[in-house]
């Protein structure tokens, strides 16, 4: 290719900037705020006597996120990650996860947050960010050795594996662990030379799941299934309405919301399921309210906007000045894509229920700040693309 190694390319007037990505992010954040207000205002009024409670908290987080984005874009050259910054972030994320054990705060029965004064912080979000930069820096550090399979495994094990297992073990947050594994899987896939091992892994996983699924449905059909705790998640997935009174409640309510949306929805703000039927509908289940209010049309528009965002990130990854930039952008792409897919799949009961937030839209400060920071990094990468001519 015509591009040489990344050199100083910030020449006056020749700076590339991906406005499309910026505007897509701004649009999604704005849309997210509207939906958060729509979904949470009723319950916020009941609980806090303030219908804008969640809206303003998210607005603060979004503004902080934009600051972080601007900082990562303007001040923090992504090559700084190679100067120990990635390692520092990696270690910091390990420490913060460990800090949950003594300092964590339990919310809704899950110990996943650390409170610093009035600001809450979710270490698993930092872990995702750390996975992206550490994997990218790691792969660049080992150079061509990444083409040896055992180094691929090593990268998985040391970075994604360590963080993922810690997140799962300490916060029992399965979905974040899956996302962390997923990010590292996608990044090594792009970096690694061959395809075979990935094909084998995907085939093996598919086969294993097919076998499990067949076994499970047969067990349920024959009535041999006792309600075991470990398999509950899967049993609810197969027949959520049977478990409606208990763990299946959220899933069924989400399906009611989606189903009652129809083609064009009930109209913005007119959801009924958000009135306490879907608990904390501004969180992971926000997409079901989008479906109810805006219909299939609105839901597909949201998916298309995410596709647009992913396309811009992939575009930047393709044209990044060096492998580090490509890998970081790939990591961000992976995180956004995995979260969007998992979230919609969970909400539509396509896969068993696990709490995944919808990037930039679901309520959650830490997630928004880190996602925006990641977009800032991607914008920084884009600004270093050398324009030809």
């Amino acid at each position: 290719m015509g591009r040489s190694m990344g050199r100083k390319i910030k020449k006056k007037g020749k700076r590339y900037f991906d406005y499309s990505l910026l505007f897509v992010v701004i649009f999604i954040c704005g849309f997210g705020l509207v939906m958060i207000y729509s979904t949470s205002s009723y319950t916020a009024q009941l609980t806090y006597g303030n219908s804008e409670y969640f809206f303003f908290k998210q607005l603060q987080a979004d503004l902080l996120g934009f600051l972080a984005m601007y900082f990562m874009y303007r001040v923090f050259d992504y090559h700084y990650f190679q100067r120990r910054w990635a390692v520092a972030i990696f270690i910091l994320s390990i420490i913060s996860i460990l800090a949950i054990i003594p300092f964590g705060t339990e919310v809704n029965g899950a110990k996943r947050w650390i409170y610093l004064g009035t600001v809450s912080f979710q270490p698993s979000e930092l872990a995702k960010f750390a996975t992206i930069v550490m994997t990218a820096v790691g792969i660049c550090a080992i150079g061509n050795k990444i083409n040896k399979l055992r180094y691929v495994f090593l990268v998985w094990l040391i970075i994604g594996g360590l963080l993922g297992v810690m997140v799962y073990a300490i916060t029992s947050n399965l979905s974040s662990a899956i996302i962390i594994f997923g990010i590292s899987f996608v990044m090594t896939f792009v970096a690694y030379k061959g395809y075979k091992i990935y094909m084998v892994l995907i085939a093996a996983f598919t086969a294993a799941f097919a076998a499990f699924y067949t076994w499970l449905t047969n067990m349920v059909k024959s009535g041999n299934m006792t309600d075991s705790f470990r398999l509950n998640r899967f049993l609810i997935w197969l027949n959520p309405e049977k478990y409606m009174e208990d763990k299946g409640y959220q899933t069924v309510q989400a399906l009611y919301a989606i189903g009652s949306g129809g083609l064009f929805g009930k109209g913005l703000g007119k959801s009924l399921q958000k009135l306490g039927f879907i608990p904390e509908s501004q969180n992971d289940m926000i997409f079901s309210i989008i479906c109810e209010e805006l219909g299939l049309f609105g839901a597909i528009c949201v998916i298309l906007i995410f596709v647009l965002m992913l396309w811009r990130i992939v575009h930047i990854a393709q044209n990044a000045p060096d492998l580090l930039g490509t890998l970081i952008a790939t990591g961000v792409f992976a995180q956004v894509a995995i979260q969007v897919i998992l979230n919609i799949a969970v909400v539509t009961n396509t896969i068993p229920n696990t709490g995944v937030s919808l990037p930039f839209i679901s309520y959650g400060g830490t997630s928004s700040v880190f996602l925006m920071a990641e977009i800032g990094v991607v914008l920084n990468i884009s600004s270093q693309i050398r324009l030809e001519k």
Partner: protein, 597 residues
Amino acid sequence: MNELNFEVKTRHRKKLFLMCMCVLLTMLLLSVRMGYLMIVESDYYLARAEELHERERKIKAARGRILDTNGVVLAANKTVCTISVIHSQVEEPERVSEMLASELGMNLEDVKKKVQKLSSIEKIASNIDKETGDKIREYGFSGVKVDEDYKRYYPYDTLASKVLGFTGSDNQGIVGLEAKYDSVLMGDNGKILTLTDAWGVEIEGSEENRQEPIAGSDLYISMDYNIQMYAQQLAERAMQEKQAKRVSIIVMNPQNGEIKAMVNVPEYNLNEPYELIPEPVYEQETKDGETKSDTAQQTDTSVLTASTHMDQLNNMWRNFCINDTYEPGSVFKMFTATTALETKAVSLSDTFNCCGYAMVADRRIRCAKTTGHGQEDFTHSVMNSCNPAFIEWGRRVGTERFFQYLGKMGVLTKTGIDLPGEATTIMHKQENVGEVELATMSFGQSFQITPIMMLRIASTVVNGGRLVTPHFAVKTMNADGQTVQEYTYENANQAIEPETSATMREILRQVVENGGGNKAYIEGFSIGGKTATSEKLPRGTGKYISSFIGFSSVENPQIIAMCLIDEPQGVYYGGTISAPVIRQLFENILPYLDISE
């Protein structure tokens, strides 16, 4: 920049592109899944969700009123309010509690507890009158709900309590006409389907699906408020004067069975049907022992168990005129005399020599006049209410014909009055009736009938021989003033010949003008009647029921009235204490009804 930076190779781009395609494919599949849920399954989920969101709220239909023959409202509805708080919407619990406590006159602590209780909606008070409800609404506190509702209301409290009956908390009739005509009065409840949130709180501004209620029909009854009111006053006075346990008065049109008044004192307050009325305590002229036992009963009330409390309430609600039976005594001689004349077993010219007693089988049955009435003809035997004479008339009729006429005159069945719980006649089996039984039956003893049955027998005797159905309901009218239903009753069954009836009317006139019923005589009016004094069972306790049945006019009876005084103190002869009550009644209502000679 530094040696660690590697070039982006084509394979990286290819892999990225592949990744991108995978993501796109997955999203496409998810879109298909969404399309399936939101188009194919949409109806199912929408229906299930609506089921979850909609709440049905009943709108009570206004209950039909009960009006007397002149349109006086005897039972009406008034608007009452139910006050409740919605916990999550209350903004100033302190001020709300204080306001509610002072407006409703409730204990502040109790109200506070209810306001602060963690429930979606908490009822503070119900049956609050509309004025207070409006006042509370005007405060405009958020979270305070004032719901309007109908409550049965009886403008005259105790008037005809045992006839009208009352309604329960759901506005359903419990006793009396309210129960009998419940289906007519009730109407059809409407409903509102409203959308609610997960806690069941209605969503403001959401569309309501409303189904309007249909008000119940008004029931017009034959009762005349004026007669009922006057009869009640007379009964209360008689009860007080005679220190009786209770006094009943029935006023009826003997031609068609329309009841104009039915009084049973003591009457209870229809607006407070669960409050026991205190037992009448008569201080003066009672023996010391009895006064004590009365006070003892009073103290007992406070330690009553629930079941006896309910028994007492049931007893208070009882309509003695139809729910209880008694031995009619001498008024029943109307029947024996009529049967004797009708069967021609006795003629008017037949005479009887009363020596003060009669021997039946081995028993000696005494006449009221122990010295005997001497020689008397048929008419005088009725005027004298001579038991030995009637034993003879009964004997001449014979058991078979006696029972035949009991059947003809409807004594063996119910009158069919339109009130719930009519008691049946307690009568000997025909095959068990011997000389003694026939003799006692002839002067109205050894069997029991209801007062309303006795009144119907008397009506048949004087109205030309037709069997009428005593009743209240005349017609129902809907809210628009259109008649929904006119009630018709069987009253054309000819039980006895009109001539016999005419003869009996003359004899009964003699009873009032020259015989035992002379205390019912009013100059200028033609009145007939018969007295009775029946000793209550068990005999020998000195408890009597004194009664009198009178009618007017003799030529064309338009009104027949009966007065029963249960357990009078002192003088207990029907002719002495019951006949004057009917006389006072007639003195007022005969001119009022425009009945004269």
